[in-house]
């Protein structure tokens, strides 16, 4: 049975080095509101993004300069994408997916390998819940992409790109559900059930039947693409 711990609560009776803890030399204490599982590992329930090199992030362009672009990555961070590290050109407000290549001591983030994402919008979820949204071997995100026909790109920083193609609002509903219930078990099944119910209902509502089917068919190739990108986001 896993247990919710608050800051300052003992997580181990001996000093240990692990994420989201500190030690006073005798015991180890939690620093954030987190879930302590049976193996004694901490999974944070809330908290800001911790940028790490090689993270794949999603954000939007907030400033264009001669040398590159400023990319908003969710507070308090913004990244800098140098024109040298990116062939693509962007406009103000363009949604981009990029890789973190450097984080310095004041947490300035340098980005590279940027790719523009078009025809969709950004949802923001708590960054600590991103692993849950991706799921074990992409299971969660694949389920959502397949069932809604949406193209989804998840950034480590908590921004999720959701394409307008496919059942956009249903995909967002599923993402919100994952965020709200990230600490519970058996979530993938419940999300799948929700998607089946809602997607099925939609097809029945569309009396013609074929129209709904076509939307899904059109959506299929994009969801295939989405899976390729999710492999990236997992790195």
């Amino acid at each position: 049975m896993s247990k919710i711990v608050v800051p300052g609560e003992v997580v181990s009776d001996k000093p240990e080095r692990m994420a989201y803890t500190f030690s006073d030399g005798q015991k180890t204490y939690a620093t954030a509101l987190s879930l302590l599982n049976e193996e004694g590992k901490l999974v944070p329930l809330e908290g800001p993004y911790e940028p790490i090199v090689e993270d794949v992030v999603v954000g939007y362009v907030t400033d264009i300069r001669f040398t590159g672009y400023n990319v908003e990555l969710g507070e308090p961070f913004s990244g800098f994408l140098s024109s040298r590290d990116s062939r693509a050109t962007f406009r103000l407000g363009s949604i981009v997916q990029a890789r973190v290549i450097n984080v310095d001591e004041v947490k300035s983030i340098d980005l590279a390998d940027a790719r523009g994402l078009e025809g969709g919008w950004l949802e923001h979820i708590s960054p600590v819940k991103v692993p849950r949204l991706i799921g074990k071997r992409n299971s969660m995100i694949n389920t959502i992409a397949q069932m809604t026909g949406c193209n989804l790109v998840v950034g480590r920083n908590g921004y999720v790109f959701v394409s307008f193609a496919g059942n956009h609002s249903l995909a967002i509903e599923a993402i919100r559900m994952v965020e709200a219930q990230a600490h519970t078990t058996g979530l993938t099944d419940r999300v799948a059930a929700l998607l089946r119910e809602k997607a099925g209902a939609k097809n029945m509502n569309a009396q013609a039947g074929m129209a709904g089917a076509q939307v899904n068919m059109a959506g299929m190739p994009t969801s295939q693409m989405a899976r390729g990108q999710d492999d990236n986001s997992q790195m």
Binding site: Y29, E46, A180
Partner: protein, 260 residues
């Protein structure tokens, strides 16, 4: 002091108990609800006796004005404010006042000891504490609310903070003073404790106590702070039993509030 009677009212009942029927080492009813605001990273509502305090945490976020920021750590800014309608009588006035600036400062400094701000250089963590309804002991309730809101926001902290006041009423030490006891009693000592090791993070003294009385007050305060901490922890855990849903139960009544 307009509106209040000028002469000291009796602070004990005939049966020797305090005005609200409490014994000397008893807290007022306290209940806490975490995650009550939609747009704040973390938030808490504390209903403590007749006090109603709302705390919201924003950040870490960009530090404005820029000259306040530090390349070494996030700046922690707590703002204590009393709502214009908060007062039961004359206590409190909205907007910046000498009193609210002092409280904002001491609360910020109490939390600087526990928040691990080094992880977020060049940013600011803002804690807004609003007193919606006031009785005695708003600063203790404010610290208690801010601690829950910070934890709810997932801000890394070495410890939780729980605060309680110990005072002297009619020559006897009393826990968690109400407004009348605060105004007319001999001494009021708000104390904030770090919950893990009992370190004192805030101690203010109004009126005087002897050394022995301070020792005794600390023991009383520490025991009470542990009870407050248990309620804080419970509030944070309950957020996840209602699936992270946001709810602001302003209708929480002190009568319904749970103690211990």
């Amino acid at each position: 002091m307009t509106g209040a009677s000028k002469s000291k009212p009796p602070l004990l009942r005939e049966d020797g108990k305090r005005l609200d029927g409490r014994s000397f080492d008893e807290l007022r009813p306290l209940s806490i609800e975490a995650r009550v605001l939609n747009d704040a990273a973390g938030s808490a509502l504390v209903v403590w006796g007749k006090n109603k305090i709302l705390a919201g945490v924003f950040g870490p976020r960009e530090c404005i004005p820029r000259h306040d920021e530090s390349p070494y750590r996030a700046v922690l800014r707590c703002r204590y404010n009393m709502a214009p309608f908060c007062s039961l009588e004359e206590h409190g006035r909205s907007g910046p006042s000498r009193r609210s600036q002092e409280l904002s400062k001491v609360i910020s400094e109490a939390f600087e000891n526990v928040v691990i701000a080094e992880s977020y250089p060049k940013s600011a963590i803002d804690v807004f504490i609003d007193v919606l309804q006031s009785d005695g002991g708003t600063r203790c309730a404010a610290v208690t609310a801010a601690a829950v809101a910070l934890a709810d926001a997932g801000i890394p902290m070495k410890d939780m903070v729980a605060a309680v006041a110990v005072g002297k009423v009619e020559g006897k030490l009393a826990l968690d003073l109400s407004k009348e006891e605060d105004n007319w009693g001999e001494s009021d000592n708000p104390i904030a404790f770090a919950s893990r090791n009992g370190e004192v993070l805030l101690y203010q003294m109004d009126g005087q106590l002897t050394r022995d009385e301070i020792d005794q007050a600390m023991t009383m305060g520490k025991a009470a702070a542990q009870k407050v901490h248990a309620i804080q922890t419970d509030a944070l855990r309950r957020v996840y039993t209602r699936a992270g849903e946001v709810a602001l139960p302003l209708s929480l009544k002190p009568g319904e509030a749970r103690s211990e």
